[in-house]
């Protein structure tokens, strides 16, 4: 396939796209020849070519260190792990709860019948959200996990894309990303900002009309006195991983998100 439009005559001014293809060695021989001739006659053209040679030659080499760097064990471990047959995987059926799915994905304990739990994500969540009286107004720890209480429910339910809604204790919530989970729930990633500017970020999913906070990390240090809470040294990356596991398809664009909020989270019109 030629990268040059058919009606491009070579005596016409040579476009940047053609010069780029020349620098990349992507032109068919005849066109390549014609560009070479034009370059020999035009210092201006030669100067334009320089951008494309530079960005293909010297510039990309700075990234080659990554090719040679030893591969971290954590990456190899992921790929080396024995792969159970799909049928034997503990993955829950579609439509099962987000928490069950999370537990399966991360092979973590989730709520025992007694309601005790020891999960990383909820641990991180509890650390920030339950550490002060004010914040514990936002979530209630129950058998379903951390259920957002009224003010957080309302904020998650109604905050428009890019908007900000006040919740309890002077905190305000700002949704940053809205997406469909693999369990077909709607989920929102959000930031919570307190009056001092401390910021936490979390993910909540809507099941049965109720928002459950499934992960929450914060700028505020997590309460770790019980030793159960795993310090989130890179809280963002924990959330990124979670979202990557949960999300199905692309995140909603602004218009779709806005429409969804207006429809009170009911599926398409």
């Amino acid at each position: 396939m030629s990268v040059i439009p058919e009606n491009t005559a070579m005596d016409a001014p040579i476009s940047d796209e053609i010069l780029m293809a020349y620098a990349d060695g992507a032109l068919p021989p005849a066109e390549r020849e014609a560009v070479s001739k034009a370059l020999a006659q035009s210092p201006e053209l030669m100067q334009r070519l320089e951008s494309f040679l530079f960005t293909r030659g010297p510039m990309p080499r700075v990234f080659d260190a990554a090719l040679a760097a030893p591969i971290p064990e954590k990456l190899l471990a992921i790929l080396r792990a024995p792969s159970p047959p799909a049928s034997a995987r503990p993955a829950p059926a579609r439509g099962s709860s987000i928490l069950a799915q999370l537990a399966a994905t991360f092979r973590m304990a989730v709520f025992s019948p007694a309601g005790a739990m020891a999960t990383l994500v909820v641990g991180v969540a509890a650390g920030w959200l339950l550490q002060s009286g004010t914040r514990s107004d936002l979530v209630r720890l129950d058998i379903h996990g951390l259920t957002a209480t009224a003010s957080l429910q309302r904020a998650l339910e109604t905050a428009p894309p890019g908007g900000s809604v006040a919740v309890a204790g002077g905190l305000s919530l700002k949704p940053t990303l809205t997406f469909r989970s693999t369990a077909k729930s709607w989920c929102r990633q959000f930031d919570l900002v307190d009056p001092q500017g401390a910021q936490a970020t979390g993910i909540a999913c809507r099941e049965g009309g109720v928002w459950h906070v499934i992960a929450q990390t914060g700028a505020a240090p997590a309460a770790s006195s019980d030793g159960k809470i795993v310090p989130a040294d890179r809280p963002e990356s924990i959330l990124d991983s979670l979202r990557a596991e949960l999300k199905e398809g692309d995140a909603l664009g602004r218009a779709d998100e806005d429409a969804l909020v207006r429809r009170h989270w009911r599926d398409g019109p």
Binding site: M1, V3, D16, E17, L19, M20, A21, D24, A26, E50, S51, F52, F54, T55, R56, P58, M59, P60, V62, F63, D64, A65, A66, L67, A68, A69, I71, P72, K74, L75, L76, I78, L79, R80, S83, A86, T105, P161, G162, K174, P175, T176, L177, Q189, D191, T201, R234, S237, D240, S241, R243, A244, E245, K247, D250, A251
Partner: protein
């Protein structure tokens, strides 16, 4: 099938890491992205069609994960780290191209590009894929790929070298709409 899949993923890791570093701008964040990409890929082995290119499939996963991250970050209003851009300042007038063409400098210059252009730079200039392959991975028409890529490369060159030559280089850039 799965064991072969894992083996091929391991073989792909060095290139995938370089691609991720090019997108994120540093090795640690790049490795986080690679990790996520591998986990996502493993959980969706059944969606990969044997006989198609594994690298393109993985790059597409990585690119989409990264675009989501960038979007979340941008909505949040996190400021781009402009200090990194100051690395480009060249007080003694020596050529940035000669003396400061470092990963940090290139990454800082790339941060000024729109996400889509950054992804194209990573795919074509850094990984060496063809325009057609990049078009398939980004699901963008090839003409758009070429015009975006040409613009991104002029911009990067101007940023990385323009500090030495002065603003005239940038002034030469044609304004113009995307294809």
């Amino acid at each position: 099938m799965t064991d072969e899949f894992r083996t091929r993923m391991v073989e792909l890791l060095p290139r995938l890491r370089r691609f991720a570093v090019a997108l994120t701008g540093d090795l640690d964040q790049g490795d986080d992205l690679v990790q996520e990409t591998c986990m996502r890929a493993l959980s969706r082995v059944d969606q990969w069609q044997p006989g198609t290119r594994l690298d393109s499939w993985m790059y597409r996963i990585a690119q989409n994960l990264w675009l989501d991250r960038m979007r979340a970050k941008r909505v949040r209003g996190v400021q781009v780290d402009v200090e990194a851009a100051d690395l480009l300042a060249s007080p003694n007038g020596r050529s940035v191209v000669e003396s400061r063409l470092t990963l940090q400098a290139v990454a800082a210059a790339m941060e000024h590009l729109p996400d889509e252009q950054r992804a194209l730079i990573a795919l074509v200039c850094i990984d060496g894929l063809s325009y057609k392959e990049a078009a398939e991975i980004t699901q963008t028409p090839i003409g758009t790929v070429m015009s975006r890529l040409a613009r991104a490369r002029r911009e990067l060159h101007a940023r990385l070298e323009g500090e030495v030559r002065g603003p005239s280089v940038r002034a030469q850039q044609k304004p113009g709409g995307d294809a």
